[in-house]
């Protein structure tokens, strides 16, 4: 978690759940004995819908489960994966924890930051990418690794990073096979 409070996000104006999502909202509420417990799944649904969580989206979640907006804000701030500000289309989270660091994470991170010319918030010049340093993503055997949006990319080198970035820029699907698909041991060649 981050111990610092999240910046108060800008307002996008009042929002409502799109009609198409209402059955999903109801289904989420039905999973738990209290409405409060739906706060995280609803924040996820909201983030999937509006890309990031501003105060108006948080107010909608608060209305849906009938709790004060401040409580939704407290929850949203506690968890790092709830986005309190917009990011690039591709959110690149590079692991910097020990197992990755032992096998070259720093070189990967620096390479990504340099080639994407990111600013102090990790945003690339073209606004397409956001590069963040994160802690262990439970992929330590296939280190160094990073997560781009939902997907894990493993056994990285600066060269494979370039390939992945080029693939994303060209809009083509992933350029590299993702070990997440099939392997659980990773012989060093």
């Amino acid at each position: 978690m981050s111990s610092h409070a999240a910046p108060i996000p800008a307002s996008r104006g009042p929002v409502e759940w799109p009609d198409a999502l209402l059955p999903q909202v109801e289904e989420i509420l039905s999973r738990y004995p209290t409405r409060q417990a739906a706060v995280m799944p609803l924040l996820w649904l909201a983030q999937d819908t509006w890309d990031w969580l501003d105060l108006d989206v948080m107010r909608l979640v608060a209305r849906t489960i009938d709790i004060p907006p401040s409580q939704v804000h407290a929850v949203a701030s506690f968890y790092t994966m709830f986005k309190k500000s917009p990011t690039g289309k591709y959110l690149i989270q590079v692991c910097q924890t020990l197992s990755c660091a032992l096998v070259g994470a720093e070189a990967v991170i620096e390479h990504m930051e340099r080639t994407l010319e990111v600013d102090e918030h990790g945003n690339s010049k073209d606004g397409l990418f956001t590069v963040l340093r994160v802690e262990c993503l439970a992929s330590c055997g296939s280190a160094p690794m990073m997560q781009i949006n939902e997907h894990f990319y493993e056994r990285l080198t600066p060269a494979t990073c370039d390939q992945i970035i080029a693939g994303l820029r060209s809009g083509k699907p992933l350029a590299l096979p993702r070990p997440e698909v099939d392997k659980w041991t990773f012989p060093v060649s």
Binding site: S3, M81, A101, G104, A107, A138, G141, W184, P187, V188
Partner: protein, 441 residues
């Protein structure tokens, strides 16, 4: 070597995550038998098997289940079963494959566990970064529901069990069971003081059992083959097989299922393919980043089981996340890296942990950068000693133990940095090799 593969046996199969493939391997074949048994009998089998929790603490699973108050005692309160799939301890990456490769085995384990403790609704709490696995788990749940394996009157036995998957959102501390419960309830993931233990008062103030993914996945095999068969594998106090997540400076990092009690050096040299050419072993963290570090001598003596690592090396088997470091590793930088992690992940409730982790991290940065004094090392140790056991949850100790053990077992590396500082040498110039990152850099 060929070992029984209780947990990972189906991983090689194509589409091993699909219900029909899982069923063809015998998964869900134990449900009918288990649900026909009285819960006390099920608990007794798991107790007799000696199965211990695979989430880190190694607590006997059957005993934990038996702590749930009886139906008379708990009145009209429900019982909850939570599967801990938060897997965030650095160096640990086994549950990820259990769920990705064989989600139905875990679900089968949950159905059986739920019956044993009298639970009708369970949840899998999975870390937010495993979004792609979260989707797969829901698919598996839907498949199982459609086949009458989850929901009301499972396979006509009269037993009900509904299962939901709950996605976390990036907070290491949510792996701690009371924090996990707070998070599931829709609050900040902050731990609570124990007692009351969750088994008595957990989620929504009802009795709650929290078990790790791997623990639950071991249950169906035990029901099928019996407690004695499980006890025949492993050692007296650590029966069965365990998944080890192996990372760091080895030729074949990955997840290995081996019987407990297997020699640590064989795990490193045989399964993991040994060290890289020309390297020698410097240190091993045997059970996830929170446990004390081990020297090569200790590695040579110890087996991968709860008692050997504890009595011979003062460390813990923990989650089975083994991080191997060779002679190119800068251990001061390694410890600094870990303390950055703990400083970032402290939930902030307890002063010793919140302030202490950041403080220790900052001292370590100075040691690493050749600008610390001998007094700093004294402060560092003081801080660690004053965090350990003085906080609400075990996170404080988890941050303190690496510091205490690195300082105890590798003091020379730290003293060399102090000496370098006293000579005014710039960061990076010290007696131990230069970089934390050696491979692929």
């Amino acid at each position: 070597m060929d070992f029984p593969r209780i947990l990972s046996g189906n991983w090689e199969l194509e589409n091993s995550h699909k219900l029909d493939v899982a069923r063809s391997c015998g998964t869900y074949g134990r449900v009918q038998k288990a649900l026909a048994m009285p819960p006390v009998e099920l608990i007794q089998i798991v107790k007799d098997s000696g199965l211990r929790g695979r989430g880190g603490a190694g607590f006997p699973t059957g005993m934990k289940w038996s702590f749930v108050p009886s139906a008379e005692k708990r009145g009209n309160k429900p019982v909850y079963l939570l599967c801990n799939a938060d897997e965030s301890e650095p160096g640990t990456f086994k549950d990820r494959y259990c769920m990705w490769k064989d989600p139905h085995l875990m679900i089968e384990g949950m159905i059986i566990a739920a019956h044993a403790i009298g639970c009708k609704v369970g949840y899998v709490y999975i870390r937010g970064e495993f979004r792609y696995i979260y989707d797969r788990l829901w698919e598996a749940v839907h498949e199982a529901r459609a086949a009458g394996l989850l929901g009301e009157n499972i396979l006509g036995t009269g037993v009900d069990f509904q299962l939901h998957i709950h996605l976390g959102a990036g907070a290491y501390i949510c792996g701690e069971e009371t924090a996990l419960i707070s998070s599931l309830e829709g609050f900040k993931g902050q731990p609570k003081l124990k007692p009351p233990f969750p088994a008595v008062e957990g989620a929504w103030h009802a009795p709650t059992i929290v078990n790790n993914v791997e623990t639950l996945a071991a249950v169906p095999w035990i029901i099928e083959h019996g407690a004695a068969a499980y006890k025949a594998i492993g050692t007296e106090k650590s029966p069965g097989t365990k998944l080890f997540s192996c990372s760091g400076h080895i030729r074949k990092p990955g997840v290995y299922e081996i019987p407990l009690g297997y020699p640590m050096r064989d795990l490193i040299n045989v399964e993991c393919g040994g060290l890289l050419p020309g390297r020698t072993l410097k240190a091993v963290i045997p059970g996830g980043s929170s446990v004390p570090i081990m020297t090569p001598d200790e590695v040579a003596r110890c087996n991968m089981d709860y008692e050997s690592i504890n009595t011979l090396a003062g460390s813990y088997l923990g989650s089975g996340g083994m991080i191997v470091m060779d002679d190119t590793t800068d251990l001061v930088a390694a410890l600094t890296n870990l303390l950055r992690f703990y400083a970032h992940e402290s939930c902030g409730q307890c002063t010793p942990c919140r302030e202490g982790c950041g403080w220790m991290y900052h001292i370590l940065c100075r040691v690493r950068d050749n600008c610390a004094t001998a007094e700093d090392l004294v402060t560092l140790k003081d801080l660690a000693d004053n965090i350990h056991s003085k906080t609400i949850c075990f996170f404080g100790a988890s941050a303190a133990m690496p510091v205490q053990s690195f300082l105890l077992k590798f003091k020379g590396e730290f003293l060399a940095r102090i000496e370098a500082a006293s000579k005014g040498l710039p960061a990076g110039s010290h007696v131990s090799p230069a970089s934390l990152s050696v491979v692929g850099a």
